[in-house]
């Protein structure tokens, strides 16, 4: 699916009536099966941008189009994966993964078949009956991914999904996500503040400025083949360029 963001801005109004601009003049397009990273310092509005695309917030101006149709509110074609606290603690792993299909009114057989398929894909087929609190942070995020994929969305939005994980698990999850992306060919929009993560994962990186967030530059990473070697010269070069963009942005 193709997703386009047109002239989007977002202004928050605080309790005292103060207007705080979070995003300004955002234009971008995301192609079919593309892996796009949105990168920026904390407070730059990258999460807000993702939440607007997810339909959880409304833009102040501008619009979002999915395959030429204007988006308003959450769409079943777009699923979101949150940083943490997203699994329902009262449901088992399997019951969590079927949730989307359940509210969409799919039959019990279809729900179970899809849930088992995607639990298998994330390598947790044997944890069906476990509860989220019995699992590690990395496993919980894999279940969140399986739950999102089970509804067969065209696009996945990921809001710093590995931000709460330790460095080792994080690297492992990045590699696994690459493999899942290759197998499922979803469009992925991935928000992160880690340059390394963005360069490792993305086809293109949208670098945002500090608040209010504007698009500073869109960096193409595609010339580095997957799986990426974090020590190869292309990787290091792109990484340095992105770091320069970010540090230049913060000294403005």
């Amino acid at each position: 699916m193709k997703l386009a963001v047109h002239d989007l801005s977002k202004v928050f109004v605080t309790g005292t009536g103060e207007r705080v601009p979070a995003l300004e003049g955002i234009n971008l397009t995301v192609g079919d099966e593309e892996f796009l990273c949105i990168l920026g310092p904390s407070g730059c509005g990258k999460t807000t941008l993702l939440r607007i695309i997810a339909g959880l917030e409304t833009p102040t101006t501008g619009s979002i189009e999915v395959d030429g149709q204007a988006l308003d509110g959450p769409s079943r074609r777009i699923a979101m994966i949150f940083q943490e606290y997203s699994l329902f603690p009262w449901r088992t792993v399997l019951e969590n993964v079927v949730f989307g299909l359940e509210v969409q009114g799919k039959s019990r057989e279809d729900r179970l078949a899809a849930a088992r398929k995607y639990l298998g894909l994330v390598g947790l087929g044997s944890f069906e009956k476990s509860f989220p609190y019995e699992l590690s942070g990395g496993m919980r995020q894999r279940i969140a991914v399986a739950r999102a994929l089970a509804t067969e969305p065209a696009a996945l939005l990921m809001d710093e999904p590995f931000g709460a994980l330790d460095a080792q698990t994080r690297n492992l999850m990045q590699t696994e996500l690459q493999e899942i992306w290759k197998k499922t060919r979803k469009t992925i929009i991935f928000v992160t503040h880690s340059v390394d993560e963005a360069v490792f994962l993305a086809d293109r990186i949208v670098v945002l400025t500090q608040r209010p967030g504007r698009v500073r530059e869109i960096v193409h990473v595609k010339k580095c083949p997957h799986p990426r070697d974090r020590t190869c010269s292309d990787f290091v070069e792109i990484r340095r360029h992105v770091l320069d963009l970010i540090s230049a942005g913060s000294s403005d």
Binding site: S86, V103, Y133, A148
Partner: protein, 253 residues
Amino acid sequence: MRRPLGIILPILILIFWEIAAQLINNQFILPRLETVIPVLLDPTVNILGTGSLLQNAALSLERVGAGFLVALAIAVPLGVGMGWSQRLDAFVDTTVQLFRPIPPLAWGPLAIAWFSVGINSMVFIIFLGAFFPILLNTIDGVRGIKRTWVEVAQTLGASEGQVLVKVVLPGAAPTIWTGLRVGFGIAWMCVIAAEWLPGTTTGLGYLTLYAYNYGQMHYTIAAMITIGIIGIAFDLLFRSVEDRWFAWRGLER
């Protein structure tokens, strides 16, 4: 270690009770253990024409059950609404705060005037006792729902009704359950006092007062102990359900 240590004091109290009862030697001030224990061990014997200990306990429980269920049926939906909608909360909260400090028993005269003597006035008082803890805990539980849970459901295509039924209710359930446990405990205390209202002729609460009027204090104490045992039993029942159903509580990650 806690339990063995905790059992020592009750045993000491029983021993001192018996010693004191023998020294005082007045059945009205403090009846001896051996007059109270047989009453508890034979709970089907008719006491002073009011029915047996078991029959009176069953009647008290029936009244509590009725008042508690009415409170549950009103307080849980209202609490979910107030926790979910700020407008409804703003509309109702002041009224709740005004009525809450009035002890349920203070409604006794009005209850009798409105519902006449009998079960309805007692159920009304019990209802008032159980209502507020259930309501306040339900509101708390709904407000404690993690926003991410609701947003996940929305992005997966859940309607507002589905969010309420599949996310808000189960997410708030542990706290609502705490409200039910506390509400039932208060309801149980209220029924005893409600049975002191004029016109009542049955129930454990009535029995405590009735036996006193006849100077049969060992029956009063036997009824008190029965009240305590039933109270503990229900509290344990609520807690065991809590442990089984809501093991995830406090472990949300």
